[in-house]
């Protein structure tokens, strides 16, 4: 595939690795924020190929994983109301809430539909005019504009039975929250590629300017990630933290103005509840007042009951970068992709699912 294969070239990857090995001297800790990056790092065996003084940590960049149990319980409670069809992206359906998952709610009679796109949820609404269709809106800045677009289309086409439960979250504030918690010392952050396709590179400036931490926005192929690591190493070794873009084919410094305008039209910044972290001020997106007729949280009485976290699950610590799946007693024992206990094992981009699928990050990859 064009714009993919070129960035999987083993020769380019080897040269970048050589440069990283030559230049890197300090012991550094880099966080790949995005779950998609964690998968790519593990799939291509990049951790094992980096010098031992470069430590890689996985961050909270998996929207399914960071959805709080309380919010998931609300989605399940909505599904149990009469006359409602709940629609959601696939992984979300399997995450266990306090009592059950959406999948289990479906087995008990709730109408739960998995969709690929918010456009599909709109079509379900059009095909079922006597039902209310609630889309469980999860995702970061990458996905939220698509949900905003679906609400605007509902407005234009006068679709009155379409609702969104907005659980959307934004990335720079949670990066700040993790840095302010002070639980992990970071020297550099691999910033998310497709979030940045929307927001650009400027919103990360405070990380370099105020915290002195190097930033590089990366694509998702091995050469992209190694180029980002090389940029981070150079910034750290020269003592000049800044925000660089290693994914210039997809990310412009100013982001995507059309998508940002759509986001701002439909959503406003609000608080969000992050699994393992708690409520972080100004880290989520709420539906604006003039679109509140599409807001499921305001249109339905939701009684989700008390929240319970899965016993023994350490997804919270894993999402904050303070623990790894290998430290969890449930990992591979009672918690597996077939029978997940916590969300990081459900999502294909969750750290636990990635460790389960691709190994522990110490085996040398075959392509070298």
């Amino acid at each position: 595939m064009k714009y993919v294969n070129e960035y999987r070239d083993p020769e380019l990857a080897k040269k970048l690795l050589e440069r990283i090995h030559q230049r890197s001297r300090k012991h550094v800790r880099l966080m790949e924020f995005c779950g998609g990056h964690t998968v790519a790092v593990f799939k291509h065996g990049l951790r094992q190929l980096l010098p031992p003084n470069i430590e890689m940590l996985s961050g909270p960049g998996c929207p399914v994983c960071v959805t709080a149990s309380a919010d998931l319980d609300k989605a399940i409670a909505l599904g149990k109301l009469p006359g409602i069809i709940v629609s959601s992206f696939g992984d979300m359906v399997r995450v266990p809430g306090s009592q059950a998952s959406l999948q289990q709610a479906r087995a008990e009679g709730a109408d739960v539909r998995i969709v690929y796109s918010a456009q599909d949820a709109l079509e379900i609404a059009q095909e079922n005019p006597d039902k209310s269709v609630v889309f469980i809106g999860i995702g970061f800045e990458t996905t939220a504009p698509t949900i905003a677009a679906s609400i605007l289309r509902a407005e234009q086409e006068k679709i009155t039975n379409y609702y969104v439960l907005s659980l959307h979250k934004v990335c720079p504030p949670i990066m700040k929250a993790i840095l302010d918690l002070g639980e992990v010392r970071l020297d550099g952050i691999i910033c998310p590629g497709h979030v940045s396709a929307i927001i650009g590179s400027l919103p990360y400036r405070f990380i370099a300017d105020d915290y002195g931490i190097a930033c590089a926005i990366s694509g998702f192929e091995p050469v992209d990630i190694l180029l980002a690591v090389e940029m981070l190493v150079e910034q750290i070794e020269s003592g000049q933290p800044k925000v660089e873009i290693a994914y210039r084919r997809g990310v412009k410094p100013e982001g995507n103005p059309a998508a940002l305008k759509l986001l701002d039209t439909v959503f406003e910044i609000g608080d969000a509840d992050w699994r393992g972290i708690g409520v972080v001020p100004a880290s989520g997106l709420s539906i604006r007042k003039n679109f509140e007729k599409y807001d499921a949280a305001k249109s339905f009485e939701i009684d989700a009951g008390p929240t319970r976290e899965p016993k023994g699950c350490i997804c919270g610590g894993i999402l904050r970068g303070v623990s790894t799946p290998l430290e969890c007693k449930l990992f591979r024992e009672t918690c597996t992709p077939e029978h997940p206990v916590g969300p990081c094992m459900v999502s294909s981009e969750g750290s636990c699912a990635t460790y389960y699928e691709y190994g522990t990050g110490v085996e040398k990859p075959a392509w070298t």
Partner: protein
């Protein structure tokens, strides 16, 4: 979750386009990339084009990487 893949725009009708992804065609929305036109590659995320791939920047990045590889031979 934030997965997006390159797709080639084959035709455009209003805010909708037909794209080719390695031989598979599907309808996508151009609501977020109104500037996209036939022949452009876009990054496709959950049925929406979220960014038009900058072919010049892509070429430039690869050129620099290849120069670097040759220089260190």
């Amino acid at each position: 979750m934030c997965l997006a893949i390159p797709a080639l725009i084959k035709s455009v009708k209003g805010e909708q386009a037909v794209v080719d992804i390695d031989g598979i065609t599907r309808d996508v929305s151009l609501q977020l990339t109104p500037e996209a036109k036939v022949g452009d590659y876009v990054l496709l995320h959950t049925g929406y084009a979220i960014s038009v791939i900058d072919t010049e920047e892509a070429g430039e990045t690869l050129k620099l990487l290849r120069q670097m590889a040759e220089a260190s031979l």
